[in-house]
């Protein structure tokens, strides 16, 4: 409709003033509002990805004097033959499996509970508290939990050692720093972080369900679980799909957390494809950015394949 109106205007303008120049000017001024956004979007999102794709076919090293040469698929072949590539992809997948169920199921449960709070003030208070972690910037969340998990002085180990006496100072769990506990520890932190935000997502979804649908089911004798499974769950399916796909994407591409909690030990469970890429691009030798680019593209493509699969699985049926 709007498109038609705009087209009409352009044609009218051209006919009245009689010239393709005006059409062109009209077209340019129409794009004027999009220009600033597109400038940044293309300059710092589209172009860098295109450039990384190109780099992945070269032997470019940032600190090397020699010009980059086109090497075809050599980088990809090398990466795919490197066991570290597969191990690092597997670690990212492992983390995703640890993180994804908790970050969907807990908020869903919480949303159903908060949605039924009748007292308006209390409901608002609950939502504000739940959303506090969502307005704390990422790195500050990580720093907070780095302290929570601190081996010597963190409150979690203090609780386990001094309060409950489950461990001694010698054998208290070493949560961070590339130990086997690091990935679950990060997953717990991430679930904590996203809890409120995802709950709000589900509350919005619940608000969109007509109230008479669950009521009718209850009158027909359905218990609360049946109401949830047969009425609420199908209605929330679209929101759940978006959340699963988006969170799968963010979990597979985690990097800041691993940089802060893990470091560059290749044996660490936090050495995922993102860290592998970063290590090659900014730490190793002459900064092998061509090779790093191929690692990044392999990781991204692997992720995208699964995401398309997820979207296909969750597609609206019938």
């Amino acid at each position: 409709m709007a498109q038609a109106i705009v087209n009409d205007e352009v044609e009218l303008g051209a006919r009245v003033a009689g010239g393709p120049v005006l059409v062109l000017r009209k077209g340019m001024s129409e794009w004027l509002f999009l220009l600033p956004a597109l400038l940044f979007f293309i300059g710092y999102q589209v172009w860098p990805i295109v450039r990384v794709l190109w780099l992945s076919f070269t032997n470019f090293q940032l600190l090397s004097d020699k010009p980059a040469q086109w090497v075809g698929f050599d980088n990809y072949a090398q990466a795919l033959h490197d066991p570290l590539m597969w191990a690092s992809l597997g670690r990212a997948a492992l983390f995703t499996i640890m993180f994804l169920p908790g970050t969907i199921i807990l908020p869903l449960l919480l949303a159903i509970l908060v949605d039924r709070v009748g007292d308006r003030r209390l409901a608002t208070l609950y939502r504000v508290i739940l959303l506090i972690p969502a307005v704390i910037p990422s790195t500050l969340i990580f720093v907070l939990w780095k302290w929570m998990y601190n081996y010597q002085s963190g409150p979690i180990n203090h609780l386990l050692v001094n309060t409950f006496g489950l461990f001694t100072v010698q054998n208290a769990p070493q949560w961070l720093g590339g130990t086997p506990l690091t990935l679950p520890a990060i997953a717990i932190m991430e679930v904590w972080w996203g809890l409120g935000y995802h709950t709000i997502f589900f509350i919005a979804g619940l608000a969109a369900i007509p109230k008479d649908m669950p009521d009718a089911a209850r009158i027909d004798g359905a218990n609360e679980w049946q109401v949830f499974w047969h009425v609420t769950r199908p209605q929330l399916a679209p929101i759940m799909m978006i959340l699963v796909v988006l969170r799968f994407g963010s979990a597979m591409a985690v990097i800041d957390e691993y940089l802060i909690f893990g470091g560059f030990n290749r044996a660490s469970p936090t050495y995922t494809w993102t860290i592998f890429m970063y290590d090659q691009a900014f730490k190793t030798g002459l900064w092998r950015q061509g090779y790093a680019a191929s690692i990044g593209m392999i990781g991204a493509i692997a992720m995208m394949i699964v995401m398309v699969g997820l979207i296909w699985i969750f597609r609206p049926k019938g």
Partner: protein, 294 residues
């Protein structure tokens, strides 16, 4: 009107609830508050740590025996790079939020009410960028771009990649906000002789203010806490922003004793929480209207 009806619906529902469900309701509040407690406890721990005396901090008890509020002045007077890092954070974040908001409002308006040829393509590209790990993969060539522009080790240079952190989602939010404004409102304004600029400024902006609050907060959170770009593009401690400094600081003795660290943390984290609490009504409305749909 809407809220009145909703209120009445709620009271109806409460009244209809049989007596046996009073226990269920209590249980519900207990479970919700357990989650609330889990959220608030780590934050309370930091807040208390920032006002603990040094011996209390060493002992590790949750509630301090002696309160000591001097850590707040100490960190600003004695840690020389800290005010600089703080300024860097404020400056970079303010510029990022401002520029991204302007870009997103203009683009959101254009995508709904001007619709130049190819806007469909732009929307598709924005959506795809949400699913692709752009930030991680692009860091390699963004380093090169910044190098080429002479912006390595330049704090202002961070603003450029920061703008795009949440640009796509901001545009999509503004787009769904502007979809709620009838096209005729802008049309009639323009028939009255207003250009797109005036139509947007006088009619559009007041109607999308909840969405503005959302993208303000989203971009603030993204820029205020950004780590990867700042770590990679800036080498010099004094040119870095607060999050990178905080992440590198090891709690222990001296200037980075735990209470000092915690005081810095509280200073950095409080503005966002206060701003959000004040704007929460508009933020939730904005979320419900636009963000969750987009």
């Amino acid at each position: 009107m809407m809220t009145l009806e909703a209120d009445r619906a709620d009271t109806n529902r409460l009244n209809e609830e049989p007596a046996s469900s009073v226990g269920t309701a209590a249980l519900r509040h207990v479970v919700i508050n357990l989650f609330n407690l889990a959220i608030l406890l780590p934050l309370a721990w930091v807040l208390l740590m920032s006002v603990k005396s040094l011996p209390d901090a060493m002992r590790g008890d949750f509630w301090p025996k002696h309160f000591d509020f001097t850590h707040y002045s100490f960190v600003f007077h004695r840690i020389t790079t800290l005010p600089v890092n703080m300024f860097n954070s404020i400056y970079v974040t303010a510029a990022t939020v401002l520029i991204t908001t302007v870009c997103a409002v203009l683009a959101g308006y254009a995508l709904v009410h001007i619709r130049p040829l190819g806007s469909g393509l732009v929307v598709t590209a924005l959506l795809v960028s949400l699913y692709f790990p752009v930030r991680v993969v692009s860091i390699i060539s963004i380093y090169q771009t910044q190098h080429w522009l002479g912006l390595i080790n330049n704090t202002s240079g961070l603003i450029l990649p920061y703008i795009t952190l949440q640009l796509a989602i901001s545009i999509l939010i503004m787009r769904s906000m502007f979809q709620l404004v009838p096209h005729e409102m802008f049309e009639s304004a323009r028939i009255d002789g207003a250009g797109h600029w005036r139509a947007l400024w006088e009619i559009g902006l007041p109607m999308v203010r909840n969405g503005l609050v959302v993208i303000f907060i989203v971009n603030f959170v993204a820029a205020w806490g950004e780590y990867l770009f700042c770590l990679t593009l800036i080498d010099d401690e004094a040119k870095r922003t607060m999050p990178v400094v905080l992440a590198a600081a090891q709690g222990g003795q001296g200037q980075w004793a735990w209470p000092n660290l915690a005081a810095v943390y509280v200073i950095v984290v409080t503005p966002g929480i206060i701003a959000f609490t004040l704007a929460q009504r508009m933020f939730f409305k904005g979320l419900m209207e636009g963000a969750l749909k987009g």
